[in-house]
């Protein structure tokens, strides 16, 4: 009975194989919704260097970097869908791009567990570049009549620059909101074991030993 209740209120965390707590899911949902509303109501109406900042890819990147690839991909899909729905855009375009951003941010956490404080800045720039460039590519594929102009490239680069500047505050804000609901504090870096692939289960002895307790004979 308890297992049924648990599966109904939690999702699997791909990082550790444990269940994502319900409060973490709720907090991610609130962050995603608020990000879209604030983006459309305020941030998109403020022009910086002639372009608008876009916090939605940064929020998706932050969730991926804090919670793992599966949570990142699902958040990316949800945020993208909400953006497309609320702005009456072609459904699925933004979702597709944000899935990529969320998933690969999460994979970076799972494979490398980056500890440097400027990782969110670099990843924010990459996420915005993927968002801008990917949107251009999909629009071209869908047949929108717009040539590749220098101005278009310039606008994408300026957006990347502006988003890079705000990536760290956005990440910190998301981290603070999710911090208490996360299974572990993301600031405490897990010591990397001797491995070339995913993080070795050596730092989780119980898993290495198949969940059995060692007993002395």
């Amino acid at each position: 009975m308890m297992a049924v209740a648990s599966s109904a209120t939690a999702a699997v965390n791909p990082r550790s194989g444990t269940q994502l707590p319900l409060r973490l899911i709720v907090r991610i949902s609130v962050i995603a919704f608020m990000a879209v509303v604030i983006q459309e109501s305020a941030i998109s109406q403020v022009s910086i260097f002639g372009v608008n900042a876009d916090i939605t890819p940064l929020v998706v990147m932050s969730v991926g970097l804090l919670c793992g690839s599966m949570a990142g991909a699902i958040t990316g899909f949800a945020v993208g869908l909400l953006v497309d729905l609320s702005l009456v855009q072609t459904l699925g375009v933004t979702s597709l791009l944000y899935i990529v951003i969320g998933y690969w941010s999460g994979r970076l956490l799972e494979l490398r567990d980056p500890a440097h404080g400027l990782v969110p800045v670099a990843l924010g720039a990459a996420a915005t570049a993927v968002s801008g460039g990917g949107m251009a590519l999909i629009q071209f594929l869908l047949g929108v009549d717009a040539p590749v102009s220098l101005l278009l490239v310039q606008q994408i680069l300026l957006t990347v620059l502006v988003n890079t500047l705000i990536a760290l505050p956005v990440y910190e804000l998301v981290r603070r909101v999710l911090q208490r609901a996360l299974p572990r504090d993301p600031r405490r870096r897990v010591r990397r074991a001797y491995t070339t692939g995913v993080l070795s289960p050596l730092h989780r002895p119980s898993e290495r030993l198949g969940g059995t307790r060692r007993t002395s004979r």
Binding site: E40, I43, S44, L85, L96, G132, A146
Partner: protein, 300 residues
């Protein structure tokens, strides 16, 4: 255990990507009256009050950020504004004389283009949202079908044409800006006593510039001349008329005499009057009334 996780992760990823592609394909092939679009409009109607509230609450933050941004831009604009101010003073003296003459002539031929705007039942609307991507040039305003707004209604700002209504939901509407790739409007260049008519379209890939195409190759057009909506009305059937009132300012000619290689027509670049990046209030011209009149101006 690890393989199971990998399989699960790949399955979820495939599911999400598949769902996105299905949505994209279904939405792209559907008409605006299809179920998917209806669902989208329903969700917009649900989200609209939240956005309106958020827009009101976040207005001080938005204004403060806008002020900082404007201050940063102000220095670079100062020199340009000074020279523009001097030019405007000179032009003002000329226009004051012309205005007196124009008023008298207008009364004679019963042409009052400014009153045309009032005849189109303008509805003032606040901008409550904006699309920040380069690909969808649109804004969201707090007036909808409940206020008499309909699809295709022209939208104007303080300085001129802004765009047209592209989506209407109960209390909100989406306005496609005149820089959106899907926008086009009949326009004419005011060149002294002559006017040259063409079709105004956005310059693809450059959201700050427009292109007036289909102009007579012999048209004498020079930089700085004003571009306004041309409008039209079939004299034999007054019901057949342009949605856009004539004479709404759009912008000025910023670059002339580029040749349309396909149609052998002249086309000119137009710099819009309205700063589409900082719109806060617009007017939606909800319905042309039967009293709306159009002067028959011959294209040059």
């Amino acid at each position: 255990m690890h393989d199971k996780q990998v399989r699960r992760r790949r399955a979820v990823l495939g599911l999400l990507v598949g769902a996105s592609l299905i949505l994209l394909t279904a939405y792209f092939g559907e008409s605006p009256t299809s179920p998917l679009h209806a669902v989208q409009r329903g969700i917009v109607a649900v989200l609209a009050p939240i956005q309106q509230g958020a827009s009101t609450v976040l207005a001080p933050v938005r204004n403060a950020a806008g002020w900082v941004s404007d201050t940063l831009n102000a220095k670079s604009q100062l020199a340009r504004m000074r020279s523009q101010n001097a030019r405007l003073y000179r032009e003002l003296a000329q226009y004051q004389g012309a205005a007196i003459q124009n008023r008298q002539l207008s009364q004679l031929i019963r042409l009052d283009r400014t009153n045309n705007i009032a005849n189109y039942n303008p509805v003032a609307a606040d901008v409550i949202g904006k699309d920040s991507s380069l690909w969808y040039q649109q804004i969201e305003v707090d007036r909808g079908s409940a206020d008499g707004v309909r699809l295709g209604d022209p939208v104007i700002g303080e300085q001129g044409l802004v765009g047209k209504v592209s989506t209407v939901v109960g209390g909100v509407s989406f306005v496609t800006l005149l820089t959106d790739p899907s926008f086009a409007v009949g326009a004419e260049v005011l060149s002294g006593a002559s006017t040259y008519a063409g079709v105004l379209v956005p310059q693809a890939g450059n959201p700050s510039s427009l292109l007036l195409t289909g102009l007579n190759p012999q048209a004498q057009i020079s930089q700085g001349q004003e571009v306004v909506t041309s409008g039209f009305m079939d004299a034999s059937n007054p019901a057949v008329r342009s949605l856009y009132p004539p004479g709404i300012p759009i912008g000025t000619v910023s670059n002339q005499n580029t040749q349309d290689s396909l149609a052998n027509n002249q086309q000119v670049q137009v710099q819009p009057f309205v700063d589409l990046g900082s719109l806060s209030v617009v007017q939606i011209l909800t319905r042309p009334t039967p009293t709306t009149q159009r002067a028959q101006v011959g294209a040059g």
